[in-house]
């Protein structure tokens, strides 16, 4: 990221301001609190290093559990909010977008402070605040689908019944895939989750599987000593794909007060600092289970970072924290990876056919 910063990108902001002064104002952008939108025309007009507004042509798609993605890069759950980012780029250009965890009823989430910076990452404890499945189906999903995006709906719950209720409601709606979040460290005592218990996990997935025809991804936690029995439980329960990793349990202290920074005491660590560990989780799982589709997640901030996941055996990746430091980062990473795959025809071919490296 610092290289990007240093690159002398001085593309003149003037062009943009002039363009917007000439007229094109998007009322909704103002309603959102953003300054009036700039008219976008030719590439290079925006004062960014990466032009998120040009027309994209993807050369390398991937297939995850039978679902075609335009490119192998998606957004990770919890770091994608349609209303927050649609002013910055066309979200339908992503391989897929994963929406924030949705529960049977609205959840208030955890008290603030909810975030603390940590070297090359952050510790967060949002607690899956969300407006509930009914609101999501009316106010969120249809608008995101209307852009043409491939949508993965992340499903959250406190109990098997919670998950079943959400999956049942999603069955008749237009999500392309479901991601069962059994791995959030911030919604249960001591940061434990269903995702650490193979028996409970297999029971849950077995129960959910018949409720819908949609491909079902299970998102796994890294807070386990061995990921393989967990992955196996999911596969035996009928999971169509696995995504990994969710966040590591962590915390920070305020050394002036001697107290934890987060109101929830602990949170989930994410960012570039988790990238090597995430790669190891994907690699180990791929070695043990050659067939199961895997979405690699963890600390991706460049196309190169994403490519490493593909070499570790992932079919696709999702970008999380990087999207908080730059709203268009997922799209930038997708373009970088597309260029890297141009030079790796064998890998690109495998992905296109639903296989992996």
């Amino acid at each position: 990221m610092s290289e990007r910063t240093n690159a002398a990108a001085t593309a003149d902001a003037q062009t943009v301001a002039q363009a917007s002064a000439q007229g094109t104002v998007r009322d909704s952008a103002q309603a959102h609190g953003l300054a009036q939108a700039a008219q976008v025309g030719e590439p290079g007009q925006l004062p960014c290093n990466f032009d998120a507004t040009r027309t994209f042509q993807w050369h390398h798609k991937t297939v995850v559990a039978g679902v075609e993605w335009k490119n192998p890069v998606g957004t990770a759950s919890g770091t994608f909010n349609f209303d927050a980012v649609r002013w910055f780029y066309d979200v339908s250009q992503m391989g897929a977008v994963t929406t924030k965890g949705v529960s049977p009823v609205p959840w208030e989430g955890n008290p603030v402070p909810r975030t603390a910076e940590t070297p090359a990452g952050s510790v967060n404890s949002v607690g899956l605040q969300n407006p509930g499945i009914d609101d999501y189906l009316v106010n969120d999903l249809p608008r995101i689908k209307a852009t043409g995006a491939t949508v993965i709906t992340n499903v959250a719950g406190h109990s098997d019944d919670d998950y079943a209720q959400v999956v049942t409601k999603l069955a008749d709606h237009e999500s392309d895939m479901l991601e069962i979040n059994v791995s959030c460290p911030n919604v249960s005592a001591d940061g434990l989750s269903t995702g650490t218990d193979p028996v409970a996990l297999k029971r849950l997935i077995k129960r959910l599987r018949p409720l819908t025809d949609k491909p079902m991804i299970v998102k796994l936690t890294p807070n386990v000593t061995d990921i393989r029995p967990i992955a196996e439980a999911c596969i035996e329960g009928g999971a169509d794909a696995l995504s990994m990793i969710n966040t590591f349990v962590g915390m920070r202290f305020d050394i002036r007060t001697g107290k934890p920074i987060l109101a929830n005491i602990t949170g989930g660590v994410s960012g570039p600092c988790v990238h090597p560990m995430a790669l190891a989780f994907v690699y180990k799982t791929r070695q043990a289970f050659p067939e199961i589709p895997i979405i690699g997640i963890g600390g991706i901030s460049t196309g190169e970072d994403a490519l490493e996941f593909l070499y570790a055996g992932a079919n696709a990746v999702e970008v999380g924290s990087a999207a908080l430091a730059d709203p268009v980062a997922p799209l930038r990473i997708a373009t970088e990876l597309d260029a890297l795959l141009d030079k790796r025809p064998e890998l690109a071919q495998a992905l296109e056919e639903g296989r992996t490296w």
């Binding site: 003037q14 770091t79 927050a84 909810r114 952050s122 709203p327």
Partner: protein
Amino acid sequence: MSEFTPTYVPSRRPARVVECQELTDGVVRLALRDSYIARHAKPAQFVNLYTKNAQRLSPRPFGVCEVDGDVFTLMFAVVGKGTEEFRHLRPGDTVDVLGPLGHGFNLREDADYLLVGGGLGVPPLIRAAQELSGHEGSTSTVLFGYRNVHFADAYASRYATQLQSIDESEGNVITLLDRWASQHGVAADADGALRPAAQGRRTVILTCGPLGMMKAVSAWAREHGLTVQASLEARMGCGFGTCVVCTVHTTRGILKTCVDGPVFDTAQLEGWEAAR
């Protein structure tokens, strides 16, 4: 047939440093060139700055202080490693920015605005004074409280109709508000809205500063029948509405400080009922 052209706002980008000066010990005024921000930043809107250190990825949000052509300024205290890095920026350097972000003060009403700021809460109020200096039907009275050095008076006085400031040796912004009230013949516990100006304009308070100060201002305002727009500070993970870490409990539900605020009517904020 006209083709629909989607429009987008610019994302994160580098801005060139025009000037970086230390106003007093640990208080920095930074001028950056970014015409998009300079031309669009409304009072109490903020911008994210990002450090060049790959270890520190979180945004540092700052309220825009002044705008002038293609240049905007920020004013901040050095409180940690991020702001320490920004303190050493020199003209010609670049720093990544994103913005302007958030919803600013509502200044549409012709009114007598009291701009009550404390410490490093003053920049959005200076921007408000700058904006109000172009409104014929409104006045701005700046009331600033400092710990000791009155570092922002010179900037606010360029725009304000009146300015009074105070430091801890003499009192705080409530002292200034009490003085203002007595000068305008307004007694505490007056019922109903004040009409100090002959024109019959309302008095509206804008405030930004430490939480305790803003709550005290809000309590004072309620006793005097005035409404308050407060610009809140929050620990943010993104600044543009994605991460949901900067939440605030309001009568309208749990909202995000970054995109639903940072300005809120204090009557809508839960936990602000406590008297000063």
